[in-house]
Amino acid sequence: MNDARGGERAIDLEALDLDRGAALLLRAALLPLAPGEKLYVRGSAPALAHHLRAWARAEGHGFAELASRAGDERSAAPPAVAVLTRGTAPDARWAGAERAGGASPAQAVAEAPARWGLAARGAAVEAGSPEIRFALSRRDELWTDDAPELYRQAAAAQWDPERAIPWHAPRTHPDLVEEALVQVLTYLIENETAALLVPVRFCAQIHPQFREIQQLLAIQAADEARHIEVFSRRARAARTELGLSTSGGQASLKTLLDEPDFALASFLLSVLGEGSFVHLLGFLHVHAPDETTRVLMHLVAQDEVRHVAFGMSHLERHVRHDPTLLARLRLAVERRHEALRHTAGLNAEVFDALVILAAGELSPLAIERGYAAVSGLVEQMDAGRRARLRRLGFDERDAAALSGLHTRNFM
């Protein structure tokens, strides 16, 4: 649209006026000019000259109306109605702009400043934008290089409870097994509620520079919301009331909500808690009394495996960059153990319910079998915790000791 014939930069707006978007073309035509250079504006819109004057005044460009310039006879171009002199304001706004890191995950900066606010990583941020303080703004305290891949996997693995779970599968098990299942589900729901709230709280504290971590925590929260939904739906399939919620169970979960440090909270929640839960969900998958429960536990366990993977991944990196973190992790377990020393831990109703689910009936032989299965579960959980603790850098003896101190409430 620009022509430079005769040394004149010109733009032909044809019938377009500033009330129909002409400003966009004008800005584009003025941008490459140096301040002080002129742009002739042609156009046939009746109020163009009036609007151009007002627009140029507001944008900081010079304006001169051309009384009656003849149109170019060779091209049917309308006459130039005005000449704009490019001002300095368009560049001035961006003079002090700064890139908020690079666009790729590898370019996330070590420490993200508050002045970048909510800007996308890699965006040019206007100087003077409001400062927004995020408590988690240092890469080493939250980052993991596989965050983009973990998020991709999480997004791809989302499932629709309506279609993924056979809600109408037959239930042939006895009432006492259904009752035990409802008790376990009641316990799972409150645990998943804690597992939803913890990432949500930290998600709000993470600098947008580390968006992949925000995304991971957000999708983790969405996972937990779905788990709460499917557990609740299954619990109400044959019962109008849910089971028991104990003081000791809630006391244990409250220590998770109260932990203000991201590394410590994700260690307690993901590495120790959800890590143990993966075994519990596997157990419930094997001992599910019906197909609905079996499929549901499998799907939930898959999500929890990802949550554990993220927790492990960023903590392994964090420990590599700050070996003193191990001592703080140890203290966190000990402190939590101390806080929960006087509580009952896992309620007997949940433990018994797990035994009944594995037993399937109340005969001594079946109960012996069920009890053995739950004991095996507890051993599996312990072995799993020890393995993860060793991966983080604890030696065998510390790993065993810390695993032993983990809450009796599993999560």
């Binding site: 009036h50 007002a54 005044r57 003077g128």
Partner: protein, 249 residues
């Protein structure tokens, strides 16, 4: 110090309540006239770049039979607040200088919003624009920039209006000082204002807020049209009389 109306601000300026006033063009003329009557002088020290070279437009509906100023005879023209330079005083003066006298040759419908603010509130112009589209008036007066704003926001549907005529260029607000103001402080204020750069992120939000890209040294050559309007209506003389009486009492 914030005043609810310019008349009070000008009056208090003369009484020495403060040193610098941000005046509307009408308030500038009032201050200058009242100062002169008291044997004093007023001068303007700075103004926004966007306060220079404004134009007011006389706008009609596109389909209107009004094609020339003469066609306005017997018609009703919607204007802004009675003390609005841009939407009332200047356009009516423009018409008077072309032989069309308000009240004699055409009716004036005023859209008084916040009288005393000299048309700073855009409401009067917008109401006049709405009345134009509602068929309540045959033409409406507004600043060129507001015609664009009203069209973009939909108050005036695109293509539904036509610019019948435009006034000559005029200037708007300025910072006014009277003789006797502390010179060094005034010079420093002027220096600070003119030194504000749009590049500076610390001041850019303030410039954006006040709708300017740069402060300019003030000029008073752009108030002639308004001055003629005031002379025709006797607006300034009556203001000076009021202020002088108030000072004597």
């Amino acid at each position: 110090m914030l005043y609810t109306n310019y008349e009070r601000q000008v009056e208090q300026h003369l009484r020495g309540a403060f040193d610098v006033a941000w005046n509307s063009p009408l308030a500038w003329l009032q201050a200058e006239a009242a100062a002169r009557a008291a044997g004093r002088t007023a001068r303007a020290i700075a103004m926004r770049d966007t306060d220079q070279d404004l134009r007011s437009l006389l706008v009609v509906r596109s389909a209107s039979a009004i094609r020339a100023l003469e066609d306005l005879r017997g018609k009703t023209i919607g204007v802004g607040a009675g003390d609005s330079p841009q939407a009332t005083l200047i356009p009516l003066q423009h018409l008077a200088e072309r032989g069309l006298e308000a009240g004699r040759d055409f009716r004036v419908q005023r859209f008084d919003v916040l009288v005393g603010k000299h048309g700073d509130h855009v409401g009067g112009e917008r109401d006049a624009a709405r009345a134009l589209m509602a068929g309540e008036v045959d033409a409406a007066c507004m600043i060129d920039g507001n015609h664009l704003v009203f069209t973009n926001e939909g108050t005036l549907p695109r293509g539904a209006t036509r610019v019948l005529d435009a006034t000559a260029l005029y200037d708007h607000c300025n910072f006014t000082v009277l003789d006797g103001a502390p010179e060094r402080a005034v010079a420093r204020l002027q220096e600070l204002l003119l030194g504000m750069r749009y590049e500076d992120p610390a001041v850019r939000p303030l410039l954006d807020l006040e709708g300017l890209k740069a402060w300019r040294p003030a000029r008073t050559s752009g108030y002639a049209l308004l001055e003629r309007a005031c002379a025709r209506t006797g607006e300034l003389a009556s203001f000076v009389q009021r202020v002088t009486r108030a000072r004597r009492s």
